[in-house]
C-alpha cells in the first residue's frame, strides 16, 4: 500500500518493531450506529434555532402592519370615543 521506495533498512526495521508493539487497527468498524447521535445533534440545533416560535411569527409580520397597528393604538389612546366606531368596523 505504501507507494514509497524504502531502501532504508532501518526504517523497515523500525516499522516492524512498531507494528509488533502497536498492532494496526485494520478495518475497524464503529461499535454501533452513529446516525442517532448525529441526528440528535442536528435536531438540537434545529430546535435551538427555531426556539420561541413566537419570535419567528413576530419577525414574519410586514412593517406596514406594525405601523397600522401603532396608528390604531395611538388613536384609541388619544380619542377613546373612537373605540366603538373602530370596533364597529372590525
Amino acid at each position: 500500500m505504501t507507494d514509497q521506495n524504502e531502501p532504508d533498512q532501518e526504517l523497515k526495521r523500525l516499522r516492524e518493531t512498531l507494528r509488533t508493539a502497536i498492532p494496526p487497527m485494520g478495518d475497524a468498524e464503529p461499535r454501533h450506529d452513529l446516525w442517532p447521535r448525529l441526528l440528535q445533534r442536528v435536531e438540537g440545533r434545529v430546535e435551538s434555532s427555531a426556539f420561541s416560535p413566537g419570535r419567528q411569527w413576530f419577525a414574519g409580520v410586514p412593517w406596514f402592519d406594525w405601523a397600522l397597528l401603532s396608528v390604531a393604538a395611538a388613536a384609541m389612546l388619544l380619542f377613546p370615543a373612537l373605540i366603538p366606531a373602530l370596533l364597529f368596523h372590525l
Binding site: 532501518e10 518493531t17 468498524e29 464503529p30 452513529l34 441526528l39
Partner: protein, 172 residues
C-alpha cells in the same frame, strides 16, 4: 442528482444517505490515528456535524470523502493534543498482552512511551504511514500538505523515535 448534490441544494433528507455512505470510512481513518474507538466515534460524529454546518458552502461537484477525511484528520490531531500524554495506546487485544513475555511487554511499553512523546502531528504520520501502511499521497491529502512535507515528517518522527527508543534500551 447524486446525494451530495441534493444535500448541497438544501435537501436535508439527503444527509442520512450521505452519512451512511461515508461513516465507516471516516471512522476507520480516525481510529487509525487516535486508536481509541470511543474517541473515534465522537470525532466521526463531529466531522459530519461540521459537514452539516457547512452545507451551504459545499461544492456539489466536490470530493466529499476527501473533505471529510481532512476535517476528521484535523479533529483527530486536536484530540491527540488534548489527550493526556501518559494515556496508553489502546486497542491492544488482552490475549496478546497475556501471551507476551516480559521483554516484549517492556519493549511495548517503551514504544508506547516514545510514541506519546512525539508531537500530535508526527504521531499521526507515524500511525498512518508506519503502522497502518497508508500511502504517503493519501496522508498528504488528508493533512493538506505536500508529499515532501509528509516525507519530512516521517523522517523527523523516525529520527526522534529511534533516539527515544535507544534511550529506553530498545534497538529497533
Amino acid at each position: 442528482m447524486n446525494v451530495l448534490e441534493r444535500f448541497a441544494a438544501g435537501h436535508l433528507e439527503a444527509f442520512e444517505p450521505l452519512f451512511r455512505q461515508h461513516q465507516a470510512e471516516v471512522y476507520r481513518w480516525v481510529v487509525r490515528i487516535v486508536r481509541d474507538p470511543a474517541a473515534a466515534e465522537d470525532l466521526t460524529v463531529e466531522a459530519f456535524w461540521r459537514l452539516y454546518q457547512k452545507r451551504g458552502q459545499l461544492d456539489p461537484q466536490g470530493n466529499c470523502a476527501a473533505w471529510l477525511r481532512r476535517v476528521a484528520t484535523n479533529l483527530a490531531i486536536d484530540h491527540l493534543r488534548r489527550a493526556h500524554p501518559a494515556e496508553p495506546l489502546l486497542a491492544e487485544p488482552a490475549d496478546q498482552q497475556r501471551s507476551d513475555c516480559v521483554t516484549q511487554q517492556e519493549t511495548r511499553t517503551a514504544i508506547g512511551a516514545a510514541m506519546n512523546e512525539l508531537s500530535p502531528k508526527l504521531r499521526a504520520v507515524v500511525q498512518l504511514i508506519l503502522i497502518e501502511e497508508e500511502s504517503y499521497a493519501s496522508v498528504a491529502e488528508a493533512l493538506g500538505i505536500s508529499l515532501s512535507a509528509v516525507k519530512l515528517r516521517v523522517f523527523r518522527a523516525t529520527r526522534i523515535l529511534r533516539k527515544k527508543l535507544e534511550e529506553r534500551g530498545v534497538r529497533p
